[in-house]
C-alpha cells in the first residue's frame, strides 16, 4: 500500500474529505532497448532540457524526472533509464518493472541489430505483465546520422503498426536536426514524452491504478480499453 500512496493519490468520493490535499501524480515510464541506442541521452534530454555532452554506460538503472503541466495539472514524469546489456536484465532490472505506466522502446536507426532486438524487448515487457493495454511507444534514435541509417522509416512504421505503437524518429543529440544546421522539428524528445504523458492523463486514475504488490492485496480496476489499436497520433511535428 505504501508505494501506491506515494505514487498516486486521487480523491475518491468516499474518502476525499479525510484525505490531505492531493499530491502531484506520478507517471512512471520505463525506457528500454539495446546497449548504446541512446536511452540515457533521451531521458537526460527530456528531464534536463539539454543535451548531455558525454554519457556513459548505464549500470543497473538510473532515474530521472521532470514536472510537466498538462491541462493545468502538475504531473511528475518519472523516467527509468535501464542498462542495455542483457546480463543485467534478468536479476537486476525486474524490480523496476513494477508499477510501470508506460514503456518507451528505443532502437538506433544506424544499427539494424538494435531494431532486430525489439521483439525480444517486447517479450520482456510481456513477461512483466506489460502488454498492449499499457501505453508503449517506439523511438528510432540518432536520426541526425541519417546518412548512416540502416533502418528505414517505412520498415520501422510497419513494425510499429503491427505492435500498435506510435513511432517517433528523433535525435537526442543534435539540437539542430538537419545537417544544414537549421533548427527544425527533428528533435521530438519533448513531444515524445509529452505524448505519453497526455495519453496517461487521458486514461484517468482507474487505468493508472497499480497492480497489487501482493496477491489479494487490492483489486485493480482497469478501464476497458476503448481502442486496442493505435493510440494517440503518430504525428510528431512540433
Amino acid at each position: 500500500m505504501a508505494d501506491i500512496e506515494s505514487s498516486f493519490e486521487f480523491s475518491s468520493s468516499l474518502t476525499s474529505s479525510s484525505l490531505p490535499p492531493p499530491r502531484t501524480r506520478i507517471f512512471k515510464i520505463i525506457v528500454i532497448g539495446d546497449s548504446g541506442v541512446g536511452k540515457t541521452c533521451l531521458t537526460y534530454r527530456f528531464c534536463a532540457d539539454k543535451f548531455p555532452d558525454k554519457t556513459e554506460a548505464t549500470i543497473g538503472v538510473d532515474f530521472r524526472e521532470k514536472v510537466v503541466e498538462i491541462d493545468g495539472e502538475q504531473i511528475k514524469v518519472q523516467l527509468w533509464d535501464t542498462a542495455g546489456q542483457e546480463r543485467f536484465r534478468k536479476s537486476m532490472v525486474q524490480h523496476y518493472y513494477r508499477n510501470v505506466h508506460a514503456v518507451v522502446f528505443v532502437y538506433d536507426v544506424t544499427n539494424a541489430a538494435s531494431f532486430r532486438s525489439l521483439p525480444a524487448w517486447i517479450e520482456e515487457c510481456r513477461q512483466h505483465a506489460l502488454g498492449q493495454e499499457v501505453p508503449r511507444i517506439l523511438v528510432g534514435n540518432k536520426c541526425d546520422l541519417r546518412h548512416a541509417a540502416q533502418v528505414s522509416t517505412d520498415v520501422a512504421q510497419q513494425f510499429a503498426d503491427a505492435h500498435s505503437m506510435p513511432l517517433f524518429e528523433t535525435s537526442a543529440k543534435n539540437p539542430y536536426g538537419n545537417e544544414d544546421g537549421s533548427r527544425n522539428n527533428s528533435d521530438h524528445v519533448e513531444a515524445i514524452f509529452m505524448t505519453v504523458a497526455h495519453k496517461l492523463k487521458s486514461q484517468k486514475p482507474l487505468m493508472l491504478s497499480q497492480p497489487p504488490s501482493r496477491p489479494g492485496d487490492i483489486v485493480t480496476l482497469r478501464q476497458e480499453e476503448e481502442d486496442r489499436g493505435l493510440w494517440g497520433c503518430s504525428c510528431w511535428r512540433s
Binding site: 505504501a2 508505494d3 506515494s6 505514487s7 506520478i26 512512471k28 546497449s35 548504446g36 558525454k54 554519457t55 556513459e56 554506460a57 548505464t58 549500470i59 543497473g60 538503472v61 538510473d62 532515474f63 524526472e65 518519472q78 542498462a83 546489456q85 546480463r87 543485467f88 534478468k90 536479476s91 537486476m92 524490480h95 523496476y96
Partner: protein, 390 residues
C-alpha cells in the same frame, strides 16, 4: 570549493599538523620501502599500509605494491603482450561501445590523442583477459575497473593484475548470469540492519532494493567517483582486503548518510535517486576505517546467517551465501588486530548466539540457483585470496 574547505581544515592544525602529516607520510613511505626490500617481501605490512590512513600514497608506490597484494610476480609477466583478433571476438562490440563512452575516466586535460591511445590499450587488456579465460563474462562496468589499473600501471602490468583480479575478487561478477552478484548485494541490508535498524526499516519500507549500489560494487566505485585519487585510494583498500569489503564500504556510505536517508521521501524512486549519487566530499579515511571495523564486528559468516534467516521469508538466499560462510578467510593483519581489541565484544556475541555454525543448503533448488560448482564464485575468491595472502 572542496579544495578551500580542505585547506581550511588543515590550517586549523596550525602548521604543526601539516608537518606531522608530512613526517607520517615520510615514515610510511620508508616502512613500505622496507617491507618491499626484505626477503620474502613483507606482504602483511604492505596490506596494513594499503588499508591505513592515506593508503599507498602515490602511483609509483602502487606500481610496486599492487602486484604484491595480488601475488603477481612481475618478473614472470611476458614482455610481449598477445595480439587480439578483434574481428572474431564476441565481446568486442560491447567493449568498444563502453570504452568509447568512458571519457570521464581519463584525466581532464589529457590530449585527445593520448586518451585515444589509452582507450585502445583498455580494449586490448579487456579482450586479452576474456580470450584467455573463457569462463569469464564481460559486464558493463568491468571497463571502469580495468581503466583504473591501466592508468596506474600501464598496459603490461595492468593486463597481469586485471587477469588475477578477474579470476579472484571479480570472479562472481563475471559469471554467465548476475545471480551471484545479486547474492553479494544481499549482504548490504543485513549490515545496515545491524548498525542502524532505523535506517534499515526505513529503506525496507521504501522498497528501495539494492540496485543503487550495483555500480559501486561491480566497479569498486570507479564508475561513480569523479576524483581519481579517491578511486585509487579505495583500490588500495580493496586490494588488501576480503573480496566482500566493497559491500561493507557501500553499507558504510549509506550509514554515513543516515540523516539524508531518513529525511528522504519514503519512496523507492526518490530513495534510489538519493542513494545512487555519492556525495563528492565523503570522509574517505574515516569510512574506510569504519568499513574495516564492521567487517570484523559482523563478518560475512555471521551475516550469512542473517541472510539465511531472511531467505525463509523471501527466498532470496542461495547456495553461495552459505558457501561464503564456510570459506571465511583469515582477515588481514589490521583487521585481525582490531578483532583482538574487540574480542570481549565478540565473546559476548558468541555467548548470546551460540557458536557460528555453517548452514548447508539441502534443497536442490539452492544448488541450481548457485549456477556452478563449489570451487568457483565467492568461494573461489576466498580460497584464492588465501593463496594471495600466503
Amino acid at each position: 570549493m572542496k579544495k578551500s574547505r580542505s585547506v581550511g581544515a588543515s590550517s586549523q592544525l596550525n602548521g604543526f599538523g601539516k608537518q606531522d602529516a608530512e613526517s607520517r607520510r615520510k615514515k610510511k613511505t620508508a616502512e613500505i620501502a622496507q617491507a618491499l626490500n626484505v626477503t620474502p617481501v613483507d606482504v602483511a605490512t604492505l596490506r596494513r599500509m594499503a588499508i591505513s590512513e592515506g593508503g599507498l600514497l602515490t602511483d609509483e608506490i602502487r606500481r610496486q605494491v599492487w602486484p604484491r597484494l595480488l601475488n603477481v610476480s612481475v618478473d614472470q609477466i611476458p614482455e610481449e603482450l598477445e595480439m587480439i583478433d578483434r574481428d572474431n571476438n564476441k565481446d568486442f562490440n560491447q567493449v568498444l561501445l563502453d570504452v568509447q563512452r568512458s571519457l570521464r575516466r581519463f584525466p581532464p586535460g589529457m590530449p585527445d590523442e593520448q586518451r585515444a591511445g589509452l582507450q585502445e590499450e583498455l580494449i586490448n587488456i579487456i579482450l586479452r583477459v576474456l580470450v584467455k579465460n573463457p569462463q569469464l563474462h564481460y559486464y558493463q562496468g568491468y571497463h571502469d575497473i580495468v581503466v583504473t589499473f591501466l592508468l596506474v600501471l600501464g598496459e603490461r602490468l595492468a593486463t597481469a593484475l586485471v587477469e588475477k583480479l578477474s579470476t579472484h575478487h571479480l570472479r562472481d561478477f563475471m559469471d554467465p548470469t548476475m545471480d551471484n552478484t545479486t547474492h553479494i548485494l544481499n549482504y548490504l541490508m543485513p549490515i545496515i540492519e545491524r548498525v542502524n535498524p532505523e535506517v534499515y526499516d526505513f529503506m525496507q519500507q521504501a522498497e528501495v532494493g539494492t540496485i543503487f549500489a550495483l555500480s559501486w560494487l561491480i566497479t569498486w566505485f570507479g564508475h561513480v567517483l569523479s576524483d581519481f585519487r579517491h578511486v585509487v585510494r579505495l583500490y588500495d583498500f580493496f586490494l588488501a582486503c576480503h573480496p566482500l569489503m566493497p559491500i561493507y564500504f557501500a553499507a558504510v556510505i549509506v550509514l554515513h548518510r543516515e540523516e539524508e536517508v531518513l529525511e528522504c521521501e519514503c519512496d523507492m524512486a526518490m530513495m534510489h535517486h538519493l542513494l545512487s549519487r555519492i556525495p563528492e566530499d565523503l570522509p574517505y579515511e574515516t569510512l574506510i576505517s569504519r568499513a574495516g571495523d564492521l567487517f570484523v564486528q559482523f563478518p560475512p559468516s555471521e551475516l550469512a546467517r542473517g541472510v539465511h534467516q531472511r531467505s525463509q521469508e523471501t527466498a532470496v538466499s542461495t547456495f553461495k551465501d552459505f558457501e561464503l560462510a564456510s570459506t571465511q578467510q583469515r582477515p588481514d593483519v589490521v583487521l585481525r588486530r582490531r578483532r583482538k581489541e574487540q574480542q570481549l565484544q565478540q565473546r559476548t556475541l558468541e555467548a548470546k548466539h551460540g557458536k557460528v555454525t555453517v548452514a548447508r543448503p539441502t534443497g536442490a533448488t539452492l544448488h541450481e540457483a548457485g549456477g556452478h560448482g563449489s570451487d568457483c564464485g565467492v568461494g573461489c575468491c576466498s580460497v584464492g585470496h588465501g593463496e594471495l595472502g600466503s
